[in-house]
Symmetry: D2
Subunit: 322 residues, 4 copies
């Protein structure tokens, strides 16, 4: 399959370049973690994929997030993935490591290890297992300890669909005031909350949309960018959404987002990481099987997914897909 | 309190004028229902309030919605309110009647009665009491029967916070294809869903944001307008949000929406109709007590609310409020 | 189909007879409301069904509850049903009327009307539409006003699956202390809560299990009886569960309940009122179509249901069913 | 504080003795994990506590469950705790290890390690992080792989309050048919479900109530015993509940359970592991601080808790507590 290549000057899409003191801005992809046939981490596949996304001009990457099956890896495997990713990600692009753990101490340890492996920042889920007996004060204390212990910037990760915990606007604003907490990835899709946080937090606080499903409206609400599973599948289109929004071309942005939504649904809500990996396979990148209990898509599912990709213009109409 | 008055040419804010065959577009307020000291409907207060909002230029009104305590009124009282409202609302503005009931037959009857009282369209909650044993097919059949029986256009009303039922995107798209179903008011705040519906439904299908909390991003996602409790309190500002968004002045729109969000929170999520009515009282309009089990705000609550209104610039800093 | 008949001395199953000052105790059925082919209330069918259940020895009946499609009827129809039911229900059996409405005033009115139609007590859902802005104090005030206004005993109806509102143990205990609030029907299945209420409320406060799915353990936890949709289908078996539990024959009770659970699932969680009515049809009683948006069971569903009834021993193995 | 001591013949409370091929039965405590002042595992405290509970006659122990802060420990610490516990727990009592992880591979590894450390069985949470995209088939495959890989019996752990995933009755019955899956700990409190599983699964399948809040009714519904946080605080009373139920003395059982419910609430729903540890401190056992983000009880909370313990008769009325 022929695919257009982009040079690094795609970074001139208007996002602030990554630099000391600037929070993340622009389009990030939460990269999947490919596995070998025997189930171990496939670093070559990871590197190959990253080469593609870097060339496309993405502003940075989340490694070991939900799309990356982070919760399914051992601590050792996590380090392997982070090191391989950093080796492939140039210094001028963000590498943000997913490091959520249930205890404060384990989260600090994971963040430190991630920094040692080259991460620029940590993406930290709230400790959700005991959420029913965890006060807002305890949450704030947790994040304070993590950011102090990590020695690098931290982004809060609000992901209620997976954690069962939807951070309250007031809690987010408190977290945003902690030294070193530079942003939030919000996957709740609650744009009223996003707008509230955008207003109440410092202008330099980075508010990143957690899904392409609401990326354009989030930008209209003042988001600083997005961490989009879709950016793994359609990085150029996601960057174009970003550019269009910055240029005020909202009609075009909306039209393009609308076209991509069925793809986004397929790789997030409907099939999760399994769908994302199958789509990468269809597109000629390295997907492969997810780690159990996640399952590979069935033949039928793969056929449906191919149709969805083709309809969105991500595959030539006549193309043979493997 | 002195308040600027607007003439009807405020309608030139860019919304299509109400006309046969055009679905609702622009800024609508879900008006509260004032009660006398003895608890009966206060038609004079209703008329007075409407005069204010009409002069401000709102494109139309939802009568007997959630903000209007519709579920707390008898069938007879509902008719009284609709008739009084229609007498006050000029023909060139939308009057949309909330008519959700638990059975298809009762909903049809309520819609017919509303039409007789002068409503231009019906806003119909899904029948939610038996939602766990109601199929999507049954939902579609319900709406089909209602729109056919009502003899006037119908808007779907998705309000999961109150009904416990969040209409699936696929269900909404099916409903949007029914003859006479001209739009949806969506209060879920799920902008990914809104964008999906915007794309999948006919361009003439009206998608109205159900809360000012996400009005600007909803417009960016292609919404046709909003039904905003906040428009009862700050109609000019809500119209300005609409104009700014239409002019592509997203930064200004965002800034203005941000300023209004604390007010919106107070009159929706935090205090509901009780907060809305208290705010009207503070602003010199007719609020009064809500109907039990809803309670009037405490002294303390009223004080907080006044502060919120003042901070948002809706009250002069030095004003004496009653 | 031949069916054994029971005489009224079946009342000697150990429940206190209905009398002034005694709260409800024993096995109650929430009766369905049959409709004619044209959709109007079928009073003859109602009377016929009641004759069967009364002969079986049930201790009383809930009319216009969730199983009775109460929320789908107009106020006038509600009165028709209550009057017809009272004409058929002897004075020594309880007739409890479902009267939940969203406002305090409408609930009081409905309770008064029900009393006039002969109800012995009212079963009152919490006002749930505005549950997110309704305080526990407001809930208590609502029930106080209703019980005072109704002029007859009141039972609280906790039904979170339908209302989205699960009354807190502390709230239930406060309600139990109101003069005239004589019991609760709890359909949550949370037996820890039931045991807590049993302990904290007066011994004379009636705690009725809301489903046969947990009737035996509820009795073990101190419940006073149950309001069981299953009692419409298998009244003798439900009375036997009650007797066995009173006699301490828990193993037999458990065994019998286990046998009935698939039937109970079919007429509650799986198919709701539609399943209940179809089962009545299969058993030769008057079921008929539910009121839309509820749908009649499909042919396939009816076949499955028949199998479930047969396996539970409620149909002869070889019986022709209509 | 003087406390009565029980000899091991308390095991004659009627539970089957632990033996090859017999599933767990009786009263189990999910033991807390004490930490030193520096936050590391306090093996001495653990041993001391276990001595007390063993002497009281508990039938077995869950180590590293939710009450034991299992999710807050590293893999190394987990092994330390399991080894120390096994050294203290005689071979005739069950040691069940909590080994839930998000991936199948990590869960297998944890189960194997636990077996090596001397566990008799594994208690396995469903993999819940990706629950929205995990099919029932995938769940079954997960448990099959774990029980095959572990080489020891497995109990399913249904804990919806923490995981956001409530296993469906049908799923539980499928799991119960897997070779080696010998039981379930169900903390949902849904007794209808418990009764259904009791009926559909093999009689030898062990159904353990997950909370003392519904222990007595669960026994009435056919439960095989319970894993009760309360058994750490009041082991003799929990054993007595078990004996009373076996003897059919349901009134006494109910009365005793009722007395204990406020204590149970305090150490579960209200304060979780923090409350449990504070209660141990008050009773003279080894509690100490929980691991952050969990917080120690405030002074006020500790006072309230002491009152609750005293009212339940677990502290002499006049006793000085530390």
């Amino acid at each position: 399959m022929s695919r257009r290549r982009y040079t690094a000057d795609r970074m001139d899409t208007g996002a602030r370049a990554k630099s000391v003191g600037s929070p993340p801005e622009g389009v990030f992809s939460p990269i999947p973690t490919p596995f070998d046939a025997d189930g171990s981490v496939d670093c070559d596949g990871l590197t190959r994929n990253l080469g593609h996304w870097i060339a496309a001009g993405l502003h940075g990457f989340v490694v070991l997030g939900s799309a990356g099956e982070g919760p399914l890896l051992s601590e050792e495997e996590s380090m392997t993935v982070l090191r391989a990713a950093r080796a492939a990600i140039p210094e001028d692009r963000w590498m943000i490591a997913g490091v959520g753990r249930h205890s404060t101490a384990l989260t600090v340890a994971a963040a430190r290890a991630a920094k040692k492996a080259g991460a620029d920042a940590a993406l930290v889920l709230p400790p959700y297992y005991y959420r029913r007996v965890t006060s807002e004060d305890a949450l704030v204390a947790h994040y304070r300890a993590v950011v102090e212990g990590a020695g690098m910037p931290l982004l809060v990760y609000n992901m209620p669909a997976y954690t069962g915990l939807d951070l309250a606007p007031s809690a987010i604003v408190r977290l945003a005031r902690l030294e070193g907490v530079v942003g939030i990835k919000d996957s709740s899709g609650d744009l009223g909350k996003l707008a509230f946080v955008r207003r109440e937090a410092s202008p330099s606080f980075s508010v990143l949309a957690g899904s392409a499903g609401f990326f354009v409206p989030a930008l209209a609400a003042g988001a600083s960018g997005g961490v989009l599973a879709l950016a793994n599948i359609a990085p150029e289109s996601c960057l174009r959404l970003w550019s269009l929004a910055r240029d005020g071309a909202w009609d075009d942005a909306r039209e393009l987002q609308g076209r991509l939504i069925p793809v986004n649904e397929a790789i997030t809500r409907r099939w999760g990481p399994s769908g994302l990996k199958a789509a990468l396979d269809v597109l000629g990148l390295t997907g492969g099987a997810p780690r159990p209990p996640l399952e590979s898509l069935s033949e039928g599912g793969r056929g449906e997914l191919t149709t969805v990709l083709r309809r969105a213009g991500l595959l030539p109409a006549s193309e043979e897909v493997r």
